[in-house]
Amino acid sequence: MKDFGFTINKDRQIDMDTADMRVAEYVKTHEPSFNICIACGTCTATCSAGIFTDMNLRKLFTLVKRGEIANTRTEIAKCMLCGKCSLACPRGVNTRNVIVKINQALIKFSL
């Protein structure tokens, strides 16, 4: 195959008909405050783990809501469950528990 110095970029279109929404649905059922997250990023800004790693709670929540869960296990492993994000959240989302529920869902669905 010829090398043109570039390749075909991967399509970033998300097909909601085929996306795996099991984790998102589980978290929404067991921690309903997940539904009212406005993805403002306050949790990410205040995250202790984010100082030492590339932990990004806002990105993680967005990806879970889109059904893009390929790297979720690696991402939540960076969380220390300190709960500072929950204190800072302007919407009152129990972000700490969202992480716990995501972990439960990953175990439940063997993901």
């Binding site: 195959m1 010829k2 043109f4 110095g5 570039f6 390749t7 075909i8 970029n9 399509d11 279109q13």
Partner: protein
């Protein structure tokens, strides 16, 4: 369903296209990409339709590529456009016809800007006066060259030697159209059918015997997008756009792609080669690609012009299988000859995509 109601609504999607006396401005890149298209357009307008269409030898690029590539400032672009208007005014014409969709978008954008901000127009007039001593009038009518072919599509159909029909089966050829983003996505009311139902190419296909194929990514960008291609690091994004369209149209097995813009046939044609080389995949029948034609080439084809006069030999995807299906005669030995019959040399064959 009340047909009258539908017709009344459809009237709102039409545009005013002048009937004669046009000032033609060429595309800067098109003469290299598909050199036969503009010559064919002028031939059709003058010889088939008997229209007065004039092109000034001193007209230039509209600077659209530089403007959208962020290297030409807005004021410079508007002053160059004002100079084109000045050439038109001096030549005694009032109806401007750009060959290029980007130019059409640029002229539309400039006229709209001047309409809303007369002080900007006054400033540009001053720039032009200082730079060249020229004055200009605003064009009375601005129509893209495809608008003219669309307007006269029924006359072309009457003079046509061929129809877009498979000569063996008698069935209409399946054609996908690609109108070009700057035709009616920026100023919907300036395009036939607006941004919702662009009809400029579909109208030609239907009147010349073909079948218009709708597919999910029909209105997706071809992948040119200026900086998407002009910056090499971004080209993966450019080819991804074309790739998305090909994947989307593939299940409908189109016989050809009809395009409106200088960039679109270039990218839809050449990226088929690049995708074949990168992924080993081709989208046409039997390892060939899907032929990509400009509307002038298609008009010339149905009118029975020699395919090599139309410039079909410079296409990356071979057009011969399409010509064979319609029944258009051509001489393969003359494919790479110049006007005097001297061979220009035969290009290297791709390693994956089949070519004639």
């Amino acid at each position: 369903m009340k047909v009258e109601g539908k017709q009344a609504i459809w009237k709102e999607y039409q545009k005013d296209i002048a009937g004669d006396k046009y000032f033609y401005v060429r595309s800067c890149v098109r003469q290299n990409f598909f050199p036969g298209s503009e010559t064919t357009f002028l031939r059709i307008m003058r010889e088939e339709l008997g229209k007065d269409i004039y092109e000034h030898p001193c007209h230039t690029t509209c600077t659209g590529i530089g403007y959208h590539g962020d290297v030409v400032p807005l004021d410079t672009m508007m002053t160059v456009v004002a100079r084109q208007f000045a050439l038109m005014t001096e030549a005694g014409y009032q109806n401007l016809v750009p060959s290029c969709i980007t130019s059409f978008g640029i002229y539309t954008e400039v006229l709209d800007t001047w309409h809303h901000f007369p002080e900007v127009e006054a400033k540009v007039r001053e720039y032009l006066r200082k730079a060249t001593g020229r004055e200009f009038k605003i064009p009375q009518n601005l129509a893209h060259a495809s608008d003219l072919i669309y307007k006269f599509r029924k006359e072309i159909a009457q003079n046509a030697k061929f129809k877009l029909v498979d000569k063996e089966t008698g069935k209409p050829l399946k054609v996908v159209d690609h109108i070009g983003c700057h035709y009616s996505k920026m100023f919907p009311e300036k395009g036939v059918g607006g941004a919702e139902y662009p009809y400029v190419l579909a109208g030609m296909i239907e009147d010349w015997g073909g079948e218009v194929i709708d597919y999910p990514e029909r209105r997706h960008c071809c992948g040119f997008g200026f900086r998407q291609y002009l910056v090499q690091a971004n080209r993966g994004y450019s080819v991804a756009c074309s790739h998305k369209k090909f994947e989307s149209m593939e299940p409908y097995k189109p016989d050809m792609i009809l395009t409106n813009c200088p960039g679109c046939p270039m990218f839809l044609d050449k990226w088929q080669y690049a995708i074949a080389e990168m992924e080993g995949k081709t989208y046409g029948k039997d390892g060939y690609g899907i032929p990509v034609l400009t509307y002038e080439e298609l008009a010339g084809m149905v009118l029975g012009y020699d395919p090599w006069d139309l410039g079909l030999q410079v296409h990356q995807v071979s057009c011969e299988p399409l010509l064979d299906r319609i029944g258009i005669k051509y001489d393969p030995l003359k494919k790479y000859n110049d006007k005097n019959g001297v061979s220009l040399g035969v290009p290297e064959k791709p390693s994956v995509m089949k070519v004639s």
